[in-house]
């Protein structure tokens, strides 16, 4: 019998057993069962596909020959996973022409590595189409030997591959003043991602061109229309960590992320990781570019602005259950991501009672320096409304602040560097919503 026909003539009773039965009552029960299945399918969860369409092994389609092998392995047609282009805080579902960033689907990602095509993006003048054969990196200023390098020159040099997060300074900016309850974690925290970067250590280039020891700042400039440029302090930490990268997750960096070369500044503001890098100039003081005066500075309540707040602070967020998901009473695995520009994550604590008590979550390996760290915790939800929240501590002892003390310290006009604890409220129906605390 064709399995499809079999499916039409069989049904399950309320104990889950499968019987042959007369057609009319079978159809009725099938209708009821389909309603149940649709209900299950509609329950928004963490997986990027509808939850369940087969409640018996007999409903699972039979095996058979598959598609031809191809040059690329595409995602399954059943997987619905994508970034969301957005504009500023509260400006969602915008025309792509007006989008200034595109957020990573943190609720649908597993582990710590972001696939390159789902890595968040902030581009200041669109994505330039650069021919790598015509791209050049000029290194000059306070150096003995100013140099012009091709991408192939860089690829000929000794390289390193390191796993690091990159985070936009605007990450979290939806929740500065209020919490729109209908936001997902992709909306609230989708401006952070984590990939493997391959390239040449900055220190190697510094030594190669003979940077003057009096030079303590470096201007990095991109080849995009805006020519985005930032002054970078040459601390030991930055000299040890920074790369001029050409590879991301094992392949050439994709255009949206800086093809053919990009500066990688582990742990520091995303915009310092200059994409489409074409110039490094060494000097003895910062240049005070537009991006480090008018833009990526933080307005304080007294009207002054904090400048060169370059490091991304200790942060974490529960990605499941998170905004717009639904949970049922019983066992629920809580999982999420933690990261810090200060170094490794040392601890993540989770509260399931609105911050009154905290339990230490498990950190999944690997736990890497300036990389996303996956945490998880067992939880039995009793079905009563509550709020869940995570807080991370890094290896330097920095603790992610609660929102109240964070706002008391920073105010609500800073726009950038929001790293307060993220609270998700769960109502009696199991619906999860964005909340301030």
């Amino acid at each position: 019998m064709d399995p499809k026909d079999r499916d039409n003539t069989r049904d399950a009773d309320d104990k889950g057993r499968v019987f042959g039965s007369n057609e009319s009552s079978s159809k009725q029960r099938l209708f009821t069962r389909r309603k149940v299945l649709i209900g299950l399918a509609a329950l928004p969860g963490a997986a990027p596909w509808v939850r369940s369409m087969a409640d018996s092994l007999a409903d699972v389609p039979p095996r058979g020959p598959g598609d031809l092998l191809g040059k690329y392995s595409e995602r399954s047609k059943y997987v619905q996973i994508s970034r969301i282009p957005e504009a500023g805080p509260g400006m969602r579902n915008v025309d792509p022409v007006n989008a200034i960033n595109s957020k990573a689907p943190l609720d649908k990602l597993v582990g710590i590595i972001t696939p390159s095509d789902l890595h968040y993006e902030r581009s200041h003048a669109g994505v330039p189409e650069i021919d790598p054969a015509k791209h050049r990196l000029l290194i000059h200023g306070m150096v003995k030997k100013p140099l012009v390098l091709t991408v192939y020159d860089l690829m000929a040099l000794p390289s390193v591959s390191l796993i690091h997060f990159v985070e936009c300074t605007g990450n979290g900016w939806e929740n500065w003043k209020k919490a729109d309850e209908n936001l997902t974690v992709q909306n609230t925290h989708g401006l952070v991602s984590c990939t493997e970067w391959t390239g040449v250590p900055l220190r190697l280039l510094v030594d190669m061109v003979g940077v003057d020891r009096q030079s303590l700042w470096m201007l990095a400039e991109g080849g995009d229309g805006a020519g985005v440029d930032r002054s970078i302090p040459l601390t030991d930490e930055i000299l040890n960590d920074a790369l001029v990268a050409y590879g991301q997750n094992g392949e050439p960096i994709r255009p949206a992320h800086g093809f053919p070369i990009r500066l990688i500044m582990p742990g520091f503001e995303g915009n310092l990781n200059i994409k489409w890098l074409r110039r490094l100039k060494f000097g003895d003081r910062p240049w005070m570019t537009r991006w480090e005066t008018d833009r990526y500075t933080q307005l304080r309540p007294d009207g002054l602005a904090t400048q060169f707040q370059l490091r991304m602070d200790t942060n974490s967020v529960i990605t499941s259950p998170s905004g717009m998901m639904e949970v049922r009473p019983g066992y629920k695995r809580i999982t999420g991501l933690a990261w810090s520009g200060h170094g490794k994550i040392a601890k993540v604590e989770v509260s399931t009672d609105e911050g009154r008590t905290w339990k230490v979550a498990q950190l999944n390996q690997p736990v890497l320096y300036k990389a996303q760290t996956r945490f998880q915790m067992d939880w039995m939800w009793d079905g009563k409304p509550t709020k869940i929240v995570s807080r991370s501590t890094d290896e330097k002892g920095n603790i992610q602040p609660d929102r109240k003390s964070f706002i008391a310290r920073v105010g609500t006009n800073a726009l950038f560097h929001y790293n307060a604890q993220q609270t998700w409220s769960i109502d009696s129906n199991g619906k999860v919503h964005n909340a301030l605390s």
Binding site: A125, V148, D153, T293, Q365, T412
Partner: protein, 185 residues
Amino acid sequence: MARFTTLCRNTAALAALFACTLAVAAPPNYGVGHPATPEDIKLWNIDVRPDGAGLPEGKGTVDRGKTVYNTNCLGCHGLNGQGGIKDRLVGGQGSLATDKPVKTIGSFWPYATTLFDYIHRAMPYTSPGSLSIDDTYAVEAYLLNLNGILPDGATLYKASLLRIKMPNRDGFVPEPEFVHVTNSR
């Protein structure tokens, strides 16, 4: 998983060792790249610092700037630098400590040199770098005039631009970590 972790640790250790080695030993001659000539550098050396380094000679008037602005900038930034679809450029002085701060050239930008650098490198959005040096001076003069920083009929040139103290010049507090940068090189 244990193996992967070990691998990562080893990679980190190797990277650290690599960095240390580079810090003490003279690098080998890798034989890559070619020397940047002064002509090469001149083509791309567009940055302008607050002390005037990189600021080219040239001049432009407020009146000429209005014409340049209305031709190249008005479409995005609006008539008189307000009400456009992109950043507001005029007004907002006195608003920074309120619940609705308005950050503009007049209320927020600390350096006139930054404005010159940015207009010259990045504007207009559809053809960055297309304004001449004189027209860059002119459009900056017009924007400073709209913000009450330059009088009507003024001419802006290198020396006069460097004399300008922007209203929010003292409005920034650098992060202590990067006030005095040092390294062990």
